[in-house]
């Protein structure tokens, strides 16, 4: 018996068990959609540790770049999309944005600090914004 044979015999995959149990279409789609996202998330966890323990600015920057890349990939595999542009100035709308600062007066214009996340038109996380600091504007 060859190696592949042994492998195939010993391997009773999760998918096959679920097929035998009559898995629902939605669950199977979810598993398919998650399979690649899982790999990207695992990568992101490892990259986070590297970023957290990095010696020096350059190493941390590299690790952060890879962490961001892995998280973006996981998001894409789950059908997530970013909303807005970092540092973009927009008119404040409490329905559309999360204000990321304690303010005495509702700001008119805000700056996007963190992009929002949507899936198929559903807003999962609103963009986070902060009041524009007029003193810092050129």
């Amino acid at each position: 018996m060859s190696a592949g044979d042994k492998k195939s015999k010993s391997k009773k995959s999760a998918a096959r068990k679920r097929a035998a149990q009559g898995v629902s279409l939605t669950d199977a789609l979810a598993e398919a959609a998650w399979s690649e996202a899982d790999a990207a998330l695992a990568q992101a966890l490892a990259d986070f540790d590297e970023a957290d323990t990095a010696d020096g600015k350059a190493a941390r920057k590299d690790a952060m770049a890879r962490l961001g890349q892995a998280l973006s990939r996981a998001g894409r595999k789950r059908g997530l999309a970013r909303v807005g542009e970092l540092d973009e100035e927009v008119d404040f709308d409490a329905e559309a944005y999360d204000l990321n600062a304690a303010v005495a007066k509702t700001p008119k214009t805000v700056r996007i600090q963190a992009r929002g996340v949507t899936r198929g038109g559903e807003m999962l996380a609103k963009p986070r914004v902060a009041p524009v600091d007029r003193n810092k504007r050129s």
């Binding site: 060859s2 190696a3 592949g4 044979d5 492998k7 195939s8 015999k9 391997k11 995959s13 999760a14 998918a15 096959r16 679920r18 097929a19 009559g22 898995v23 279409l25 939605t26 199977a28 789609l29 979810a30 598993e31 398919a32 959609a33 998650w34 399979s35 996202a37 990207a40 590299d62 770049a65 890879r66 961001g68 890349q69 973006s72 990939r73 894409r76 595999k77 789950r78 059908g79 899936r119 198929g120 038109g121 559903e122």
Partner: protein
């Protein structure tokens, strides 16, 4: 009249299939779309590996074939893959009658035709199993079948269709003869094959199947609900080997391709892989020795899917090799002369096809043209920018459609269809398409669960 329409997407790497109620395109309900769970292995049960491996005393299919091929790679053994490429050659009969190479068939007993028939039998058995396991489809009903194929084959499409339905017919006869043994992870013995295959091929009849062009399938899932406005479409399909542009027009009950619009470019996903790899090698000044460059190349090729996706979607990708980080941006890619040339050719090809489809739409008094991107490169920014070209021009106006249609986000799927839609798109579109969109037609097959008149399975 059938109750369900089944479409098989016989893909280069994976085969997929989906079922929709007959007439679903006009009375659309997203929940009625049923992608089939073809594979019993792996996490993505909708993808069936297109692979056959001829072992010492048996033949393996799908994932088991790939695993065994990996295990025996050192012995110069390989699985047969990319049947789709073979089915695209102009002299198909000759290609099918060629003996399989020794790396694929060390016994030298199989022709390519035999191996394709064996795989198709495995695919049909997997479809049968998936239908039986689906709580809605298992309730029964009559199924009409069709398969999706590229429209731009060099040969005569109708002639090809006759050959392919004959292959499916032989596969069905063989599947009936050997039964569920086809789905065993241990494969099928050479003895069982040599006993059953010649007889099955002899008594086989062409399977009743329709043919739908891949571009039309893409048009079908995109134009659901656009009956009035979606009469003219331009489809950009960037796959691994080619980038194809086609234009379609729905004229009353029929959908036709406008052949003068069709363009095929030989640069596509694989070409972009090479551009990326070459740019990275160029920037990796530290990799001077041949062995260092070879190692970097193999790292790049192993991670190319992720690297390419990050470059296209995020604008840049960072990878690690021998403790060093390498970053490549889309701007770096745009500095590549070959890539710039490809972008230019693509724009020219698109503009040519768009002019043809617009002329046709204008002549028929239509007000718009839908632009659709499909295939592995559908979401890339430069393909998305391409289908947004000339949007501002005069009527008929161009309406770019999203790579994943809005209905794939329907609540019924709880956010799980959209992420995998691209992989299943052609099978789903092919199942949704009305008969009027078919390139070739045939009758209705018996219900999938109706075994009357079929010899009892011998397991």
């Amino acid at each position: 009249m059938s109750d369900w329409t089944l479409c098989i997407d016989f893909g280069t790497a994976y085969s997929k299939a989906a079922v929709a109620p007959t007439g679903a395109w006009s009375r659309f309900d997203p929940a009625s779309v049923r992608p089939l769970m073809l594979s019993a292995d792996g996490q993505n049960t909708f993808l069936l590996d297109s692979a056959v491996f001829v072992d010492e005393d048996r033949v393996l299919f799908g994932r088991a074939a790939l695993n065994e091929a990996d295990a025996q790679a050192d012995n110069k053994r390989a699985a047969l893959r990319s049947f789709k490429t073979l089915l695209s050659v102009s002299d198909l009969d000759r290609a099918l009658n060629t003996n399989a190479p020794a790396t694929i068939d060390p016994h030298r007993v199989f022709q390519m035709r035999d191996l394709i028939v064996l795989y198709l039998a495995y695919l049909l058995a997997s479809i049968e199993r998936a239908i039986t396991a689906d709580p809605i489809l298992a309730q029964g009903g009559r199924f009409s079948r069709r398969y999706a194929a590229p429209a731009w084959r060099s040969g005569d499409s109708a002639g090809m269709h006759d050959v392919i339905v004959r292959l499916f017919g032989e596969a069905e006869a063989f599947r009936t003869a050997v039964g569920k043994r086809l789905l065993s992870p241990d494969g099928l013995s050479l003895r069982a094959i040599s006993e059953a295959l010649p007889k099955a091929m002899e008594r086989a009849e062409a399977l009743e199947m329709g043919l739908i062009f891949e571009a039309t399938a893409a048009a079908a899932y995109t134009s659901v609900g656009l009956e009035g406005s979606g009469s003219h479409m331009i489809v950009v399909d960037m796959g691994a080997g080619t980038t194809d542009i086609a234009a379609l027009a729905r004229l009353g009950p029929r959908t036709i391709e406008l052949p003068e619009a069709r363009v095929t470019l030989k640069q596509a996903g694989d070409f972009i892989d090479r551009v990326i790899a070459n740019r990275v090698l160029e920037s990796a000044k530290w990799a001077k020795r041949q062995d260092e460059r070879t190692e970097l190349w193999s790292v790049l090729m192993r991670q190319m899917g992720d690297i390419k996706e990050a470059v296209m979607a995020d604008g840049r990708a960072t990878l690690r090799n021998q403790g060093r980080s390498i970053t490549l941006s889309f701007r770096d890619m745009e500095k590549d002369e070959d890539f710039r040339e490809f972008e230019k050719s693509l724009r020219q090809a698109y503009d040519h096809a768009l002019a043809v489809v617009r002329d046709d739409a204008r002549a028929r008094g239509r007000s718009d043209v839908q632009a659709i991107a499909v295939g592995g490169g559908a979401s890339t920014p430069f393909i998305q920018a391409l289908i947004r070209r000339k949007m501002e021009s005069t009527r008929p106006r161009v309406i770019p459609r999203p790579a994943t249609p809005d209905w794939a986000h329907a609540r019924e799927f709880r956010g799980n269809l959209a992420p995998v839609f691209a992989q299943l798109a052609i099978a789903i579109g092919g199942a949704l398409a009305p008969d009027s969109m078919l390139a070739a037609r045939s009758g209705i097959s018996p219900p999938a669960n109706d075994r009357s008149g079929i010899p009892v399975e011998r397991d």
